[in-house]
Amino acid sequence: MARLENLAEPMRSHIADLPCPQFDQTPWVNVPELANQRIALISTAGLHRRGDRPFGGMDGDFRVIDGTSRAEDLVMTHISTNFDRTGFQQDWNVVFPIDRLRQLADENRIGSVADFHYSFMGAADPSKMEPSAENLAGLLKGDNVDAAVLIPV
């Protein structure tokens, strides 16, 4: 489990010692009621459509995942070998819960599902993701997205 104290060494120390970026303040955006929000998924699992460029390094770039993608369209090329992949191999929703999000839209728990979703490769230096994230914010606004669910791996 992802409780630090339960992880075996050397994994526990590796994760405990990972540097975390520093932020003085936490930004905040107010949003409409959940039932009226348009939601996008953003993964850091190194996901992309089959045939798209594999994640090859620490560039901080992202891949676009069309909202019409099916389970067979999506693959994972995250650089790390230190997390479980068998869950994703069994069921993509354990990493990229797009079917669950669609269910919530059908049940009117959320307003709608975005037309596009995105994935980064989480081992990249966060500072290298910043310019990509700023670009991504523009794409999300263009898709009328109110809020994004960020999902690590």
């Binding site: 955006v29 090859g56 354990v94 819960p97 669950r100 960020l150």
Partner: protein, 244 residues
């Protein structure tokens, strides 16, 4: 993950996130985060359990109703029984295939290559069956034989071909290793009477009982001796998980 939340929220997109490492999220203090006690690699908790996954997703989404933050909430449930992947979990899963004995009169590396080929021959019918029955495979870039060819050629100094001429060898080796592991998982779990192993059970089997695991270790060791820095890094960090 938390840094992305800062960057996006600062540009006007509200965010909520799942947190797998609470200690990191406490330090980064993103706007809204739901900490979950699940395995790394399983942020929604467990595969093939839509109701549990939905519960996790709703819990993360409901943080968007908060009027001020930062908000860090703990998810109240453990992953369902059977998904337990702690180091103290039962490790009883084993692959029903009993692989053939190695040939004699081969060098150590040749034996490793031969053993891999034999294993793959024995697993391939189950992989093929699965591919016929399911539209989805998580094999991403290298079909099983192509992955094995690349890794074996590299190990035996026989001009490994990444397939894509623009793909650096270090990247190709990493992707081939991931695809080979995926092939083993998809084949081994598609045999009659097999139940999906936990990630820990699969890792134990793959890294301690298969020729593939043995050969990948050799590839890793060879990469570490290369003058090319990206191959060195790949051998050190990206092929064999920590602790195995």
């Amino acid at each position: 993950m938390g840094a992305l939340a800062h960057y996006l929220e600062a540009k006007g997109i509200a965010t909520t996130q799942i947190s797998l490492i609470r200690e990191h999220t406490e330090k980064i203090h993103p706007p809204r985060a739901l900490w979950v006690p699940f395995d790394l690699g399983r942020p929604l908790g467990v595969p093939d359990d839509p109701s549990f996954q939905k519960k996790v997703l709703i819990s993360a989404l409901e943080l968007l109703n908060a009027r001020s933050g930062p908000v860090l909430v703990d998810f109240s449930e453990e992953a369902p029984v059977g998904a337990d992947d702690s180091d103290t979990a039962q490790e009883a899963w084993s692959c029903p295939i009993s692989f053939s004995a190695p040939e004699q009169a081969e060098t150590d590396l040749e034996k490793q290559v031969s053993a891999l080929r034999r294993e793959m021959t024995e697993l391939m019918p189950w992989y093929d069956k699965r591919r016929k029955e399911q539209s989805r495979t998580a094999v991403a870039n290298f079909e099983p034989d192509a992955a094995a060819d690349l890794l074996c050629d590299y190990l035996l100094d026989q001009s490994p071909e990444p397939g894509d001429s623009e793909m650096p060898l270090a990247v190709a080796i990493r992707l081939a290793v991931q695809d080979l592991k995926t092939f083993y998982y998809e084949a081994a779990t598609h045999q009659p009477g097999t139940t999906p192993p936990t990630s820990r059970e699969f890792a134990r089997w793959f890294w301690t009982q298969t020729a593939a695991g043995h050969l990948i270790r050799s590839v890793s060791e060879k990469c570490k001796t290369e003058p090319d820095k990206s191959l060195q890094m790949t051998g050190k960090a990206f092929l064999v998980p920590m602790g195995w």
